[in-house]
């Protein structure tokens, strides 16, 4: 890669502090019968510049809704009911929409799972990339094309001068995914939010895309990677947050999380992971299914599926307990003396 410019760090928060601080975020959806469904229930995390945070969880755990809440891109039925999202010295949740639009796509880049749905099929890459730059007033019209070509080259699209003239559907899945990353980074955002960016692509392409994102990270971009794949978290992310039923159940440096998960759900995810060379290791699937948001279990939402649950203790709310400097676990067992692992 040939990126020389530093990310637009000037817009971030206090020097040395986290780039993004999410505190006690709550998001609700109204169901058809008018009941409130708590999709995100008190989520907090930080993203540091030049580091990647994995948000790990299964479908319905609230990981994507958390990101959409941060970006204020919730569907009409959804609403952030409480919390703070600090970025660049401002609480994004309290900004007027006009200002939010200036930040979204310029200071915070976004990459989604399906590039085909995220791009406008009727515009060439050139239009998509340059309009984006011009709308945000990042550069002049004459510079825009040059920057767009450079961004395509940076993400490893061969012959960017020629490819910039094509439509998204004329690209293969891997190339399209790269084009979307190019669109996300063309403004040099300080923060990049990537929601399952490699789930729909082949393994060999996945590796290339992750290496590309790693290059951005090395240049100071903070990255949030939403993923269900622990392999991706391990390969790419310095820190991880594990979500279950709208809550953070464990937060830890990724290596520590994977070598010794402390929350039973995190341990269950690891026991369910199939990886190369593990043929002789029996699988330990987590029994049952994730809870329906409309009928969330009391206390720890995981306790009905947890083989180590003790009632009634697990029916009490489980606060995140700080263990060591960088880890926190929402399970009373993690406290000293209880953890008999």
């Amino acid at each position: 890669m040939t990126m020389t410019q530093a990310p637009s760090g000037s817009s971030s928060g206090t020097p040395g502090g986290p780039l993004l601080r999410v505190r006690d975020l709550h998001t609700e959806f109204r169901s058809e019968d008018g009941a409130a469904l708590r999709a995100v229930d008190g989520v907090s995390f930080d993203v540091e510049p030049g580091r990647a945070l994995a948000i790990v969880g299964e479908s319905g755990s609230g990981k994507s809704v958390s990101m959409r809440s941060v970006l204020r891109l919730l569907p009409r039925t959804g609403r952030v009911t409480a919390g703070e999202v600090w970025f660049g010295g401002q609480d994004l949740l309290r900004l007027p929409e006009r200002q939010m639009r200036r930040i979204r796509g310029r200071d915070i880049g976004m990459v989604f799972q399906n590039a085909m749905e995220a791009m406008n099929p009727t515009l060439t890459l050139e239009r998509q990339l340059t309009e984006h730059l011009l709308w945000h007033g990042v550069c002049t019209k004459s510079e825009a094309r040059e920057r767009a070509v450079r961004a395509l080259g940076d993400v490893g699209i061969p012959e960017p001068e020629r490819r910039i003239r094509v439509y998204p559907f004329q690209l293969s899945g891997g190339m399209r995914q790269r084009a979307m990353i190019a669109m996300a980074i063309v403004t040099r955002p300080a923060l990049l939010i990537a929601d399952e960016p490699t789930t729909a692509v082949d393994v060999t392409i996945q590796r290339q895309i992750l290496d590309l994102l790693a290059g951005l990270k090395d240049q100071g971009t903070g990255i949030i990677m939403v993923t269900h794949d622990l392999g991706v978290a391990r390969y790419f992310c310095d820190d991880s947050v594990v979500m279950y039923a709208g809550r953070v159940v464990e937060r830890a440096p990724t290596r520590e999380l994977l070598s010794r998960p402390r929350h039973p759900y995190a341990a269950g995810l690891l026991g369910s992971s199939v990886e190369l060379g593990s043929r002789d290791r029996p699988l330990h699937p987590i029994p049952g299914n994730p809870p329906d948001l409309a009928s969330r279990p009391r206390g720890c939402p995981f306790h009905p599926r947890c083989d180590r649950a003790v009632l009634p203790r697990c029916q009490d709310e489980q606060e995140l307990i700080q263990i060591g400097g960088a880890r926190a676990v929402a399970c009373w067992r993690a406290e000293d003396g209880h953890d008999d692992q």
């Binding site: 299964e58 479908s59 899945g173 082949d202 393994v203 060999t204 996945q206 590796r207 269900h228 794949d229 622990l230 392999g231 991706v232 391990r234 390969y235 994977l258 070598s259 269950g268 995810l269 690891l270 026991g271 369910s272 992971s273 199939v274 990886e275 190369l276 060379g277 593990s278 043929r279 002789d280 699988l283 330990h284 699937p285 987590i286 029994p287 299914n289 994730p290």
Partner: protein, 268 residues
């Protein structure tokens, strides 16, 4: 899980289904697409063969050829010694009962306006097996076997989670007591914890029922876990084939090495 017979190439077992130099060419405006080219592959009785490859490598087309769902452009497929292309329609219908398929998207493969139990009963009814009562009993037993409480049998597919839908699809595939089960990416749309449940279930059923399996996946770790023998496909061809352990430990073809090298470890 197989242990002792892993090192034998599996050819010792009588082949249940065998593709002999099959090719499939699709015509399109842009020209011909050679989806499968000159592939030979067999599945022995009681054996599980995995096919891995990236999207567009031809693995699903190969499965459809083996199932006789599409005619080969050249080459032939034999099921239990009979050439699928020459079997008359009526006999083919009988033969088809012996091979069943499980797809990636369980919701798309179930009838949405039929309850879970009716979905499982449907193949029995189509092939005129038993009476309404006996079909119902059989379907209840199948649902129980795949871990769906028969009390939920009257619910519709949309009322189940993805993993449960896949269990129902598996129960339906097993209703006709097939000899061959073809699974095309059966866990790819499922969450990690649910994938583990389905893999455990498939492993269990395969052993209990003595099924022969063709297991297609882009996920190498999943194939490593379930297959006795693995074929690696790239651009319509099998580039390498061998017993699972040998292939994963000492891959010979550069493409196999490239694929294995791209897999991200979780704990190791």
């Amino acid at each position: 899980m197989t242990t002792s017979d892993v090192d034998s190439p599996g050819s010792a077992a009588r082949p249940l289904v065998a593709a002999h130099e099959v090719s499939k060419v699709f015509g399109s405006r842009a020209g011909e697409v050679r989806a499968v080219e000159n592939v030979s592959l067999h599945i022995g009785v009681g054996e599980t063969v995995g096919v891995v490859g990236e999207s567009g490598s031809g693995k699903s087309t190969l499965a459809r050829l083996l199932m006789g769902l599409q005619p080969c452009t050249s080459g032939r497929v034999e099921f239990d010694g009979q050439d699928l292309a020459t079997v008359p329609g009526k006999e083919l219908r009988v033969l088809r009962q012996r091979m069943q398929m499980v797809f990636q998207n369980p919701f798309g493969s179930l009838l949405p306006h039929y309850s879970a139990v009716a979905n499982v009963m449907e193949p029995l009814r189509l092939h005129g097996r038993g009476t309404k009562t006996s079909r119902r009993e059989q379907a209840d037993a199948l649902l129980e076997m795949v871990g769906i409480h028969p009390g939920f049998g009257e619910l519709y597919p949309s009322q189940f989670s993805g993993g449960q839908q896949q269990r129902i699809a598996i129960a339906r595939a097993l209703a006709l007591e097939p000899d061959l089960l073809v699974c095309d990416e059966p866990t790819s749309s499922l969450d990690v914890s649910i994938q583990a449940q389905i893999l455990a279930l498939l492993g269990e059923l395969r052993q209990k029922l003595g099924l022969s399996c063709l297991f297609i996946s882009h996920n190498l770790a999943v194939v490593e876990r379930l297959a006795d023998r693995v074929a690696v496909m790239s651009q319509g061809r099998i580039v390498e084939e061998g017993p699972t352990e040998r292939l994963f430990e000492a891959p010979e073809h550069p493409y196999t090495r490239q694929l294995l090298g791209a897999v991200l470890p979780v704990t190791m």
